[in-house]
Symmetry: C2
Subunit: 166 residues, 2 copies
DNA sequence: TCCATTTACTTTACATATAAAATAAATGGA
DNA sequence: TCCATTTATTTTATATGTAAAGTAAATGGA
């Protein structure tokens, strides 16, 4: 009878995994949507632009286009378009690279820095408001739980890439 | 001195809320990317298409364009484009509404149903593999934690909409 | 030095997303 | 019945995303 039991467990595990994923995706999209709407209505901006400016804020000396793509985990073509539009609004600027003529360093303009500071302050408050129903212990537990998922994804990707290589 | 203590707590709460959001977003995007890549390479499909077909699978008698938009939480224009492309590949079909000439019912074709069944089976297994590092108790706890966030978002949206109305 | 290869970035074609305007049909009073 | 309003969908303009091809510069041996 233990064969049957294992089958039921496996099916239950699959159902639970799927349910967790759908809840995770739904929660994440709800917050993304809420934050997107606020960035648009308050600042005529977007998550993509805010994320890009966050990276530039962390590296005041500038970041190359390709490093931007790596930090944001998006393609080079995407970075080109985002920087083009932010540059048109004079929030960021491409600066010639000192030694590599293929490369450009992207930096925030002073206008960009001021705009980002305002956005970051409000953004922080929005997230605090959104999480207001959880106490600090719950937040910590959830954070740790998500960290387990992160580790588990990495392990699965490791398994998959090893299988593909063979 | 309790004023100072409260300030520190508040700042700590903001930092934790932001950290949780960044982890939630990162985890969700990692899985989305993993699933997207697999849907593309295995089935030449995408999350958007899979989600749309999931709704049609739940409602075998068909769903109107506007109901599709509501279920998927996307705009009408987006639904039009997705259904156009799926219809071109004969995975779904627009059928005239029985009584409302403005409306069309979208249904899956038999080809679409077969394709969806295959995708759903593998999709379920992918998520199980991705969550393989967590035991069932951890999955349940995480699910409950995310449910708290869901409730908290709803409460915040309630607060915001009440404020805007006044 | 020369050149094959790699690296950095842009361009192109396309999918997916929104908001806003357009179109057409249904609906609910006066 | 008539018409103002609402509802259902599409169209348009634009942003954001990818993959793949193209361009130009750097790099690392022979």
């Amino acid at each position: 009878m233990s064969g049957k039991k294992r089958q039921v467990d496996q099916s239950e595990r699959e159902a639970q995994s799927l349910r967790l994923w759908l809840r995770l995706l739904g929660t994440s999209r709800s917050i993304e949507e809420e934050v997107s709407v606020r960035l648009r209505t308050r600042f005529e901006s977007s998550l993509a632009r805010f994320d890009l400016m966050s990276v530039l804020n962390r590296f005041p000396d500038g970041v190359t286009m390709s490093d931007l793509g790596r930090h944001l985990r998006v393609s080079g073509g995407n970075v080109t378009g985002l920087v083009d539009r932010l540059e048109r609004e004079e929030l960021v600027q491409r600066v010639a690279h000192a030694t590599d003529r293929r490369s450009s360093m992207v930096v925030m303009t002073e206008h960009g820095q001021n705009a980002f500071k305002q956005m970051a302050t409000e953004h922080r408050q929005w997230l605090t408001d959104i999480m207001a129903g959880l106490d600090m212990a719950q937040i910590d537990k959830l954070y740790d739980g998500l960290d387990h998922v992160r580790t588990s994804i990495a392990a699965e990707q490791e398994r998959t890439s090893r299988k593909e290589a063979s």
